[in-house]
């Protein structure tokens, strides 16, 4: 793959690298963050953090270049989870009251959403992306294959395995609850 590295003068990636990846992937990255954090403003902050880091980076790793979209979405999901965990730990806040008045997420079954968010952590970036493309964009196996650079058959197998894995994780979590 085409390796990308820094410009000698700035120690940063060339500007077109940002243009390439932001234009192509900001939508997927936003969706990935919003599904975990379930808040418009927080999801925006996460997208800003992910692409801000990309701009400050000195080089792109081979993992990134293998599937930039999956990599960026994974980074957004991790960032969202870290944010949620840090909020869970925080007991006192010095933020003004109006900043704390974040509307509660509107989900019909919070347990199910939390369980799926947690189970999605167990999937690799490619499998998580394939699941996301199938259910959020309603793409066929062949269309997903084009996006992630795999064959239709490989995508079909990946989806079957990912669904089975998610189900197992959720059942495990459910047993722990009952």
């Amino acid at each position: 793959m085409l390796g990308l590295t820094t410009t000698a003068t700035t120690g940063k990636l060339p500007d077109w690298v940002f243009r390439e990846f932001y234009g192509k992937h900001y939508q997927s990255v936003y969706r990935a963050a919003k599904r975990v954090i379930r808040n418009f403003h927080d999801a925006q902050d996460i997208v800003q953090t992910v692409f801000g880091r990309l701009l400050e980076q000195g080089r792109l790793s081979p993992d990134f270049l293998k599937n930039p979209e999956a990599y960026l979405c994974q980074a957004a999901r991790n960032q969202a989870r870290d944010l949620m965990r840090s909020r869970g730990r925080r007991k006192f806040s010095t933020d003004p009251l109006e900043r704390l008045a974040v509307p509660a997420p509107e989900v019909e079954d919070p347990w199910m959403f939390d369980a799926l968010t947690e189970a999605m952590e167990e999937l690799g970036p490619d499998a998580a992306q394939a699941i996301s493309l199938r259910y959020s964009e309603d793409l066929s196996d062949a269309e997903i294959g084009k996006r992630i650079g795999r064959s239709r058959v490989a995508v079909a197998m990946m989806l079957v395995r990912a669904r089975a894995r998610l189900k197992k994780q959720i059942e495990k979590r459910g047993r722990g609850r009952s």
Partner: protein
């Protein structure tokens, strides 16, 4: 107590319920504005509208929507003077950057064809095998990818796989 059966397909459909397009686009524009403020010297004029939807764009502009695999396959085709069969293309791609599955190269070829960078010809319509050839706009796009790689100072790493092709 009987445990409730999990319908993972239904759960995933609810979990991934589509977000309104307006919301996603508004978020993208807002973040871009903030990043421009944060990195004024890095992000100048940049539109979120894909080049395919813009009028009067040079076809080469489409190149920014290519992935690394597409760039590699495009450059392989550029290095081949005439029409080539899949086997030859696959072998050359593999010699530069090993690819685990043939499908990876097929997928890239399909995308490049959709973008008008390559054309294909089949002698026998009933068989999947065909011939692939780069178009003029494909050659311009390939040259642009190499120029971009050359802009990067660490030549050994930046040109990487492309260098072996030319």
């Amino acid at each position: 107590m009987k445990r409730k059966k999990i319908n993972i397909d239904d759960m995933l459909r609810r979990y991934f319920a589509p977000l309104p397009r307006e919301e996603v686009e508004a978020a993208g524009a807002e973040v871009l504005k903030r990043l421009r403020e944060e990195f004024p010297d890095r992000i100048e004029a940049f539109s979120l509208v894909p080049p395919t939807e813009r009028k009067g764009e040079e076809p080469d502009e489409l190149m920014i929507w290519l992935g690394p695999r597409d760039v590699l396959v495009l450059n392989v085709l550029d290095s081949l003077a005439e029409e080539s069969m899949f086997k030859e293309i696959f072998e050359r791609v593999n010699a530069v950057a090993p690819v685990r599955h043939m499908a990876t190269v097929y997928v890239a070829l399909e995308r490049l064809e959709e973008l008008g960078y390559i054309r294909t010809r089949k002698e026998d319509q009933s068989r999947p095998k065909g011939y692939y050839q780069i178009t003029e706009s494909g050659r311009r796009a390939a040259a642009k990818t190499r120029r971009r790689a050359a802009e990067l100072p660490d030549e050994a790493e930046a040109r990487g796989d492309l260098e072996g092709l030319i």
